[in-house]
């Protein structure tokens, strides 16, 4: 049998990590890179054939032949794919549950076809959410083995995948997803506890959509909260989403003594900050990635002239503007700007040193009441031309013909990619660079959110539907902190606590408390994981002063007095209840216990009646006495850059190597490897149900 479990090369393995929104996929696991491909997890019903699906929205439109409209016959219509449209989209995975199996299978097929060329020699590593039902896994394996020629399939629990990626044997994985949060406790490579929060009725496909979506959690919850708070300012979902991803939006640290449980900035403390909302380049706390090329300064005091000077340098950089982690005091800024003007070389470097000098005067984002949020949106419009309107199927061409206004051409790769803020910022940067000549008229600093006007004259004659990236500056106030709904964070905190504390074997709990890791792109919200950890520590940590560390383990080591009295404790122990006497009773207890002769050794079990009394060592301490974030590996530079929020993908690659590519194992290793994945031979023997024993789901 072992001979038939063919070995594959690392570059042959197809790795798919489906998510509710984005599916990460890659061919090959030889490099352990961040995912090379991201597919939006959605399908569209095929309008031509019932029950079939297509990856993009498809619609009929009249054929245009040489500019003459057809006469309306059947032949004059053609099917067009619109990659940007979401019309009729089916999201097969919602909050981790597979709600539309057919679409999901079609989606798998789509991913498979997009990435593989060899059809029969590509084992698949498919990550499974904990919400997947047993039946789901069987249907998937059945489909994969019967509809494709895949030689082997490995289903991998997403919590375990994270564990493989981060290599700690014991950990608690908190996966903050789109609409759900999963908490999985892993102990020595086994899932020992799992809970999730998310929609209560997701699995019940018979209910109404709105009813099923009640009680969502995860990243989407926060977006909706933001939207709700900023409804009066006309925020829609997309705006809220961008705001959430922008650095100005953050979860403030947990402040146990504050009424609001966070320290909100107040008007009095930061008047300057609220006026001079200059954004600056150097953002040391915001992560190393943001390359700072300029400091753009916006304010509402009628300094447009100066602003223009800055902007005409051609260094206006959306990305770094957005990174308004710091600000400068208004006057200091003005001076600095003048100084800058005086400088011959108006390079970013010079500014940076200045910025460092002015660092004192700046206020971090968390101290400012208001700040400017730079919203970018894609406006797709049909530009009037002589010929009939011809909408382009794909995103428009690059931006040579850019309007010389505050409008940027879309970077055509951007819309589907880059869900993460950082990569988004990067894309923005690249988009901005060619636009050296743009003259930004600072319009929107304090204005209500209105789209910056795009001058009519600027539109070049075009024959295409073009998408333009429009930037708006919107002032947001404390909403950007208040969106961190306490109830929701408490829900996550409680779930983590409950999951770890409900692990049956008590000795496993400390290991899980000491390695908490947050994954899932929802965890990228600034400050969220810190706040959760702070809450856990403030609320649940068993303080070391209570001396559980000294005493709790001792009793099981001390034998009951034997007949000879050899074990009878002697010593100066008074046996009083601890009081607030001058001697710390706990310390006393600890020292006394030590004098009792802890090396109870085997005698500790003297009373153990017979061989059946197994437990020689009980762990009975109260937990948690230590709650820590797991240390993330540093040896994978690319992943450090990418962030470990997608560590499950890394883990899936590691697991794929183990399951499919390791040679020369001993017999036990071979056996273990065989049960890691489900090969075609096994499938033929066991049928789809074999996936239960040949997978990494528990």
């Amino acid at each position: 049998m072992s001979g038939s479990t063919g070995k594959w090369r690392e570059e042959q393995v197809l790795i798919i990590c489906p998510g509710s929104q984005t599916t990460l996929a890659q061919m090959g696991c030889n490099e352990l890179t961040p995912p090379q491909h991201r597919f939006p997890t959605r399908m569209f019903p095929d309008p031509e054939e019932e029950g079939q699906f297509r990856p993009f929205h498809t619609y009929k439109r009249p054929k245009t032949t040489a500019g003459i409209k057809g006469e309306g016959g059947e032949d004059d219509y053609e099917w067009v794919e619109d990659v940007d449209s979401l019309e009729g989209a089916i999201y097969p995975i919602q909050a981790g549950h597979i709600v539309h199996m057919d679409a999901f299978l079609a989606f798998l097929e789509h991913v498979h076809q997009a990435l593989t060329t060899t059809y029969h020699n590509t084992p698949i590593m498919l990550m499974a959410s904990p919400q997947w039902k047993k039946g789901d896994c069987e249907v998937i394996s059945r489909y994969i083995f019967e509809k494709t020629k895949t030689p082997a399939l490995c289903l991998l629990h997403s919590g375990l995948a994270t564990q493989y990626g981060l290599k700690w044997p014991n950990m608690t994985v908190v996966d903050v997803g789109f609409e759900k949060v999963d908490v999985t406790c892993v102990y020595e490579g086994r899932v020992v506890g799992h809970n999730d929060i998310g929609p209560e009725n997701m699995g019940d496909t018979e209910r109404e959509e709105s009813e099923r979506k009640q009680g969502i959690s995860g990243g989407e919850f926060f977006t909706r909260k933001l939207m709700e708070l900023l409804k009066d300012q006309g925020f829609d979902h997309e705006m809220a989403e961008q705001l959430k991803k922008s650095p100005v939006c953050e979860v403030l640290p947990y402040a146990a003594d504050d009424k609001e449980l966070m320290e909100l900035p107040t008007e009095g403390g930061s008047t300057a900050g609220s006026n001079g909302t200059a954004t600056s380049s150097a953002a040391p706390v915001e992560g190393p990635k943001i390359i700072t090329t300029a400091a753009g300064a916006d304010d509402d005091l009628g300094l447009d002239g100066e602003e223009k000077v800055v902007n005409e340098e051609g260094v206006l950089d959306v990305a770094s503007l957005v990174v308004s982690g710091q600000t400068r005091e208004f006057l200091a800024k003005q001076e600095k700007l003048k100084a800058e003007k005086a400088k011959a070389g108006r390079k970013g470097k010079g500014q940076e040193t200045d910025a460092a000098a002015a660092a004192k005067a700046r206020l971090p984002n968390s101290k400012r009441v208001k700040t400017i949020f730079h919203y970018e949106e894609l406006i797709t419009e049909d530009v009037p031309v002589a010929a009939p309107v011809v909408p382009a199927p794909a995103a428009p061409a690059p931006a040579e013909n850019a309007a010389p206004t505050d409008v940027e051409m879309a970077d055509s790769n951007a819309p589907s990619a880059a869900p993460a803020v950082d990569s988004g910022a990067k894309a923005g940067e690249t988009a901005a660079k060619p636009e050296g000549e743009q003259t930004q008229s600072v319009a929107g600093a304090t204005d209500p959110p209105t789209a910056a006007p795009a001058p009519e004259t600027a539109a070049p004659p075009a024959t295409e539907r073009i998408s333009r990236r429009v930037r708006r500056d919107i002032e947001v106030g404390l909403e950007r902190f208040l969106f961190a709904d306490r109830k929701e964070i408490d829900r996550i905190v409680d779930t983590i606590y409950r999951t770890v504390q409900d692990i049956d074997e008590m000795y496993m709990r400390p290991g899980c408390w000491e390695n908490v890791v947050f994954v899932g792109n929802g965890a990228r919200i600034r400050g969220l994981k810190d706040n959760i950890m702070q809450t856990l520590q403030a609320r649940h940590l068993i303080s070391p002063s209570s001396a559980t560390m000294f005493t709790s383990e001792l009793p099981s080591n001390i034998g009951t007095p034997s007949g000879t009295g050899s074990q009878t404790p002697t010593g100066s122990f008074t046996g009083q209840l601890p009081t607030s006497s001058s001697v710390n009773p706990l310390l006393q207890a600890a020292t006394t216990a030590a004098s009792l002769g802890v090396p109870g050794g085997p005698q500790g079990q003297v009373v153990g009646a017979d061989g059946q009394m197994q437990p020689s060592h009980h762990f009975h301490s109260q937990t948690p006495t230590n709650i820590k974030l797991a240390t993330l590996p540093t040896y994978l530079a690319e992943w450090t850059k990418n962030g470990f929020e997608e560590a499950m993908f890394l883990g899936a690659q590691v697991a794929a190597r183990l399951a499919f590519c390791i040679h020369n194992l001993d017999a036990a290793g071979l056996e273990a490897q065989r049960s890691m994945s489900f090969g075609r031979v096994d499938y033929n023997e066991l049928g789809p149900k074999g996936i239960r024993s040949h997978s990494m789901l528990t």
Partner: protein, 472 residues
């Protein structure tokens, strides 16, 4: 998993052979309801049998994640203190929630929709032909879940015939299960221990029971039970806290916003949460139980013996043992020394029990663990006693208290000095907690068990009364 190749002489019982029939094992208890697929080593779903009832909308919510502070929220339990089902309507709902929503027992999909019959099957080499399993009448039972899964349910040894009939009715009428079996928890606990003739001591949440099982059959006269279980122990803890000086107040976890470390014995410095709605007493009690559970896990210990705790000198000795510190959710903490032995002593010695405020909290000598065992053995034939005492199986989560087995051994050897006593207690916490479920999982996955099921047809022919005849 190494599976021996199927020999051609054995007709596969399922499409792909083997023991696999996807039976479901459902083990309802007072504290938890456990559900999972037969053949697995642990129940996949362990739900509290307590559930939330929202009084304003008359809605019930199930599962741990639904139980949090809410307005107009009460905690109820569909089981009663006898570990039997009290509220059958809710029982049906909570079981459906456990099995279908949580466990994911597949709702059958008609063949036309399962995505595999859209095109003619490609003649892939080496693939197994799919059997036409969906040939059943698609429409008739479509609304009913679980028509593909036999169900194995557990019941306490003292279950009433009426309750048994009700169970099969729900299974057959509401869920359209193809087959059903009802098994008593002591028998299953015996299977989990791999033995057929045992004396089962089940120290559970609401009950402690002693049952003699002989050759896989419960000896009815031997069944003894008393309320001395986890819940009773909690009430003892409350009495202990009441009588402590100063009084110890149990602040449930949900009320604490944050706490500060304080020295032992000092008043707590915690910031409590405020709620703009009334917290119902039942919810608070449920949450307090959680704290008490933690206390039981980490502090309470059974006096190992020899001799009772109240015997000469033992208490003084216990006072000299190093204590354990327990920190309440609000941060106040205190060292517990001899009290942690004393509080569990009532299980063994009625004189040591804390005085109880309620009538049902008081126990008699016959209700202690030794009393139960004695009564059970007295009720059965002398000849089988040695065989039973050599196979004492301890199960139930309250038996996880440290020292429990040692004490039991002492008590038994003192009671039956001439008989060899051997105690079997699973080492893993989960095996002890889910003993009956695990036994059900073993039983439900045995190939031979297929001949035992009460099939749907039998039920239709004989009615619900068949369960009395078949499930002895």
């Amino acid at each position: 998993m190494a599976q021996p190749p199927l020999s051609s002489s054995v007709q596969p019982t399922d499409v792909y052979g083997g023991d696999e029939v996807s039976a479901i094992v459902l083990d309802p208890g007072y504290i938890h309801t456990r559900a999972g697929f037969a053949g697995e080593e642990m129940p996949k779903q362990v739900l509290p049998s307590f559930y939330g009832h929202i009084t304003s909308s008359q809605r019930d919510v199930f599962g741990d994640q639904a139980i949090y502070p809410r307005a107009d929220f009460e905690i109820r339990n569909y089981m009663n203190r006898d570990s039997a089902v009290e509220d059958w309507d809710t029982a049906t709902k909570i079981w459906e929630y456990a099995l279908i929503d949580r466990l994911g027992v597949p709702r059958p999909t008609p063949a036309s929709k399962n995505g595999l019959n859209n095109k003619p099957k490609p003649a892939a080499d080496g693939d197994v032909e799919m059997a036409d399993e969906a040939d059943l009448d698609e429409t008739e039972n479509y609304e009913k879940p679980m028509q593909e899964n036999p169900l194995l349910m557990t019941e306490p040894a003292w279950n009433s015939p009426k309750a048994r009939e009700k169970a099969i009715e729900i299974c057959m009428e509401n869920w359209a299960c193809p087959a059903f079996w009802l098994s008593k928890t002591p028998v299953l606990a015996a299977y989990a221990a791999g033995k057929a003739t045992v004396l089962v001591l089940d120290v559970g949440g609401a009950n402690t029971s002693v049952t003699a099982v002989f050759d896989g059959m419960v000896l009815k006269r031997s069944v003894q039970r008393s309320p001395v279980g986890g819940v009773w122990l909690s009430s003892q803890l409350r009495s202990l806290f009441e009588t402590s000086e100063p009084k110890v107040e149990v602040v449930p976890r949900f009320m604490v916003e944050s706490k500060k470390p304080v020295e032992a014995g000092q008043p707590a410095e915690a910031r409590l949460k405020t709620f703009d709605f009334q917290i119902s007493p039942s919810f608070r009690a449920f949450e307090e139980e959680g704290v008490l559970k933690e206390f039981k896990e980490s502090v309470v210990e059974v006096w190992k013996g020899p001799g009772r705790y109240l015997a000469q000198g033992n208490e003084d000795y216990a006072k000299n043992l190093p204590g354990r510190v327990f920190e309440m959710p609000d941060g106040s903490n205190q060292m517990w020394r001899e009290q942690r032995f004393k509080v569990a002593e009532g299980m063994w010695d009625e004189n040591a029990a804390f005085p109880s405020a309620t009538e049902e909290g008081k126990i008699t000598k016959a209700q202690t663990v030794p009393g139960l065992i004695k009564a059970a053995l007295d009720a059965i034939d002398v000849d089988v006693r040695p065989a039973l005492l050599a196979n004492v199986v301890v199960t139930g989560s309250t038996s996880l208290l440290p020292g429990f087995n040692d004490r039991l051994h002492h008590e038994l050897t003192a009671m039956f000095p001439s008989v060899k006593v051997k105690i079997h207690a699973a080492g893993l916490t989960s095996e002890r907690r889910f003993g009956a479920w695990i036994g059900g999982s073993i039983l439900g996955s045995l190939g031979t068990f297929h001949q035992m099921w009460i099939s749907r047809k039998e039920y239709e022919e004989n009615g619900a009364g068949i369960v009395e005849k078949r499930c002895k």
